[in-house]
Amino acid sequence: MTRVAVALPEVRDTGLVIRALQRARVDPDAVHAAISRRRRWIDLPGLYSTADVASISKLGGIHLTPVLERVYANSSSVRRIIGSLDGSGNALDGLELSLDTVLRGDSGKVKLARDRDGRALDSPDGWSDQPRAGATVVLTIKFTAITVSIEFLLGLTIALVVNSHFKGRGIMRAIMLVPWAIPTVVAAKMWLWMLDDTYGVINDLFVRTHLISHNQSWIVQHPLVAVSAVDIWKTAPFVALLLLAGMQVIPNDLYEAASVDGANQLQQFWRITLPLLRPAILVALIFRTLDALRVFDVFQVFFGYRLGSQSMAVYNQSVITQDGHVGYGSAVSVAIFLIISLFVVIYVTVVRVSDE
């Protein structure tokens, strides 16, 4: 949602601006009042959808201020559980209501002066109230759980397939390196376009195969699925390569001995491959978890600094560089570091216990 303001001195063609505002479904009375009152800066009442006002954003004299909003499930069956919001973003029922305090976050207040032309002036006081992000930590941990588990399973499958002997195995391994070499920002942009709600290929493929009935706006309706998809695509082949390297050091004699003793493929996998692969699995899991917990690029490219859609690193970076609160930001950094170390400790103890 967006607030619209008009700075009259900057308006060159009044008629053009009026027509543009009408196209964006701004209340005509408000438009005329705004133009005729001869004030230099007029805030138009109400909120407008971002799509409606996108077309007028480049006209001289029109200032748009994005207003953050909460996004919720669209399909009716899910909405029963997840709950819904009213038009102005207040929780009505379901999970939305019960978890409201976690999900909401607080909007900040900033003391700001505007000069006569409506330009914002730096205020000596700065923030009087810091905004608080919604569920930064929870969101990042969810993201980590989703991506690391899927990447591990997918990576293991790919590694098992590619580990068998076939023509073109070298080419396959080269192909698997391609997603890893592509910069994360670039990969995020590629996927942003593939997930486009109108011209996106993902919607087209899913609708053609009847997996979904109509086009989805993935970024808005399923943000976590969308970011996870990018991360999984980029790193699952890499996890596979790590596991593949681990599989290739397992001596072949073990498998031969097992098949002489009559063990089938599945038994061989459970009793030989998996236990001997444990060091490689541990390393892959630890590295992936560390990477996922400090995820920055994908979230920043997909959602910018939108409250409620920040990963821990995005929140931390915005506190330090956007707000300039280096001291508080460093405290957040230490907290992130502790959370990450906690996960490493969990991994190492779990694996050591099962070793005994």
């Binding site: 996108a54 077309s55 397939v161 590619v162 068998s164 076939f166 073109g168 396959m172 391994r173 080269a174 192909i175 698997m176 390196l177 391609v178 997603p179 070499a181 592509i182 910069p183 994360t184 920002v185 670039v186 990969a187 942009k189 590629m190 996927w191 376009w193 593939m194 486009d196 011209y199 290929v201 087209d204 695509w233 082949p237 390569l241 790590l242 390297a245 050091v249 009559g262 060091p279 390393v283 560390l290 917990l293 400090r294 920055f296 690029d297 920043q300 821990m312 690193a313 931390n316 970076q317 330090i320 560089t321 280096v326 930001g329 460093s330 950094s333 230490v334 992130i336 570091f337 990450i340």
Partner: protein, 313 residues
């Protein structure tokens, strides 16, 4: 049940249908079919986003923004590539990234190989401590030092009465901060390469009267050349792809690196109603093609470098 009993039973059993299927060539091909389908599926999954970016880059706008979407462009065009390369700030970003990633690679290799010589070839007190410090630095999260780095980079240009040029919003800030994560990795990998070299070569050179630096330059460096190529490429890719520091320490568009430029891209052909996806995709192809080419050419070495520490460690 004993295995011997089972074996005799197996010989008595008539040849089952599955065994017959496995023996004929056609049957064998049929059994392999799911396997090959899986291989093709994995390859398509890994390559499709790249193909889609390429397809979108050579599809004209009139075809790009229509439904139903086309999977192969019917009128391919280079217009989006021209548009992307005609943006001065995108060209500038390519230059900036080349400068930053090139300097980072050169510095990491220069300092890294000397450090690896010391760590891999000499005995001194605190050596293993330094090595483990390096190792822990490689997995240290970048975000954890952002605050400290930000303070240093925005404030450290004044030392006493001397005013150095500002680091903030300069490419030096990026080179400096990228070395923090490329250098430990380079040192760690090159040290393992140095250790693997036999001592005889070095001793022979000393007997012939070579100084330590001559030994390093003329004997050891040529021998670890494969390691230099691998770590150099990995450092280059890491610096080329880095986004967090680039977006934190750079403000003016003329100093943007490639990832920042791509993230904030808005081409000239785009109008107010449609984001210029074709041009953005052309730009992504331009910046990834060299990386992919280098990766494919050097894939064996990269794999060795990436997995060396992972599997044995």
């Amino acid at each position: 049940m004993s295995t011997a009993a089972e074996a005799t039973r197996a010989t008595v059993r008539p040849v089952s249908r599955s065994v017959r299927l496995r023996r004929s060539p056609l049957g064998r091909a049929l059994l392999r079919l799911p396997f090959w389908l899986l291989i093709v599926a994995i390859a398509v999954y890994a390559l499709f986003p790249f193909y889609w970016a390429l397809r979108s880059a050579i599809t004209p706008d009139s075809e790009l923004f229509t439904t139903p979407i086309t999977y192969f462009p019917s009128h391919p065009t280079w217009a989006h590539f021209h548009d992307a390369l005609s943006q001065s700030y995108f060209r500038r970003a390519l230059l900036n990234s080349t400068i930053v990633a090139g300097s980072v690679t050169a510095l990491s290799l220069a300092v890294g190989s000397l450090a690896a010589y010391a760590l891999g070839r000499f005995r001194f007190r605190g050596k293993s401590f330094v090595l483990y410090l390096m190792l822990s630095m490689t997995i240290f999260p970048q975000i954890a030092i952002l605050g400290a780095l930000y303070t240093m980079i925005s404030g450290f240009h004044i030392v006493g009465p001397v005013h150095f040029p500002k680091l903030y919003d300069s490419l030096f800030a990026l080179i400096f901060s990228y070395l923090i994560f490329t250098l430990p990795f380079t040192i760690w990998v090159l040290t393992s390469f140095m250790r693997a070299l036999p001592a005889d070569l070095e001793e022979a050179a000393y007997v012939d009267g070579a100084t330590p630096l001559q030994v390093f330059w003329k004997v050891l460096l040529p021998l670890i050349a494969p390691g230099l190529v691998t770590t150099g490429l990995l450092a280059f890719i890491a610096a080329w792809n880095e986004y967090l520091y680039a977006v934190s320490f750079i403000q003016s568009p003329s100093h943007y690196t490639v990832p920042v430029a791509i993230a904030t891209f808005s081409g000239s052909s785009g109008n107010a109603f449609q984001f210029p996806w074709g041009t953005v995709m052309a730009a992504t192809i331009i910046v990834t093609l060299p990386l992919i080419a280098a990766t494919l050419i050097l894939q064996r070495r990269i794999l060795a470098g990436l997995t060396a520490g992972a599997v044995k460690g």
